[in-house]
């Protein structure tokens, strides 16, 4: 096992153990021992799927600050989109105009793309369906409940809004 792989294993193990502690919150010997064994087995199997890049990439002051700043940004977008879709589904006329648009993104890293797509899907009204690479840029297919623009650039600005710049402060 190389150094990178070992570091990945250790960080997955710590993540699993913290999750276990948060879920049980019982500090007895048998609980802790069981948690250690389970997180060892889980991280043995799954650490190479979870961590492909530098495991300590996130532990950098500016990236941690970016991650903290992303939380209020995301909650604001979430509430806005939820109110919008709730209004649409309660409206007697059902004002929807669905379609699938293709939107370019500047992000390159796996984690950044995953975070952006998850944020897009979590805000109601948009679901990210697929990612393809075309001409050195990643393109996301998005199902949009109210298509306001078929132009990729404009649609991208409307859907991603401030989310992408927030994600870019954390991942490449």
């Amino acid at each position: 096992m190389s150094g990178q792989r070992t570091l990945g294993f250790v960080s997955t193990f710590i993540l699993c153990f913290i999750t276990w502690i948060a879920f049980t919150l019982a500090f007895t010997v048998q609980e802790i021992l069981g948690g250690l064994i389970v997180s060892f087995l889980v991280s043995l199997i799954s650490s190479r799927f979870l961590i492909h890049e530098d495991p300590l990439y996130l532990f950098n002051p500016s990236r941690l600050l970016g991650a903290l700043a992303y939380i209020p940004l995301f909650i604001r977008e979430l509430v806005k989109a939820n109110i919008d879709v709730a209004k649409r589904s309660l409206n007697p006329k059902l004002p929807i105009n669905p379609g699938i648009v293709k939107v370019p993104t500047e992000l390159k890293s796996e984690y950044g793309l995953a975070m952006l797509c998850n944020s897009i899907t979590l805000t109601p009204g948009t679901i990210s369906m697929d990612i393809v690479e075309e001409g050195g840029k990643n393109q996301i297919y998005i199902h949009w409940i109210d298509v306001q623009s078929k132009n990729p650039k404009e649609a991208g600005d409307m859907i991603k809004g401030s989310l992408e710049s927030g994600v870019r402060r954390i991942w490449k």
Partner: protein
């Protein structure tokens, strides 16, 4: 203390309202993809509002660290697992050729991946 109860009840009310809106949307929407859009309502603000309320209730009313922390962890699990599932369902449905209401005439996935 009364202010805290008002905040907790308001969170429950918000969660319940968005869950109701999600259910109404699931019944009324015309195709599977739009139904999934409405059901994200229930999963995000519906469940998260109620879980935020329970965590506050656990921390400050029951004085139990376990209930508060568990509610937060459950909320995080929903945040991580729900989008992956709905992405996989939407992609599989589109690839199998499930009917899609194409009102806007804009189906760029179907254009690029003809069946």
């Amino acid at each position: 203390m009364i202010l805290l109860r008002i905040i907790i009840d308001a969170l429950f009310l918000i969660g319940g309202f968005f869950a109701l809106a999600g259910v109404v949307g699931v019944i009324r929407m015309p195709d599977s993809y739009c139904r999934m859009q409405a059901s994200t309502n229930t999963a995000t603000l519906g469940a998260l509002g109620i879980l935020a309320g329970t965590s506050l209730y656990g921390f400050f009313v029951l004085n139990s660290l376990a209930i508060g922390v568990k509610s937060i962890v459950i909320g995080l699990f929903i945040l991580f697992s729900n989008p992956v599932a709905s992405h996989a369902i939407a992609r599989a449905a589109k690839r199998c050729g499930v009917y899609m209401l194409n009102k806007s005439g804009c189906d760029q996935y179907g254009r690029d991946n003809p069946q």
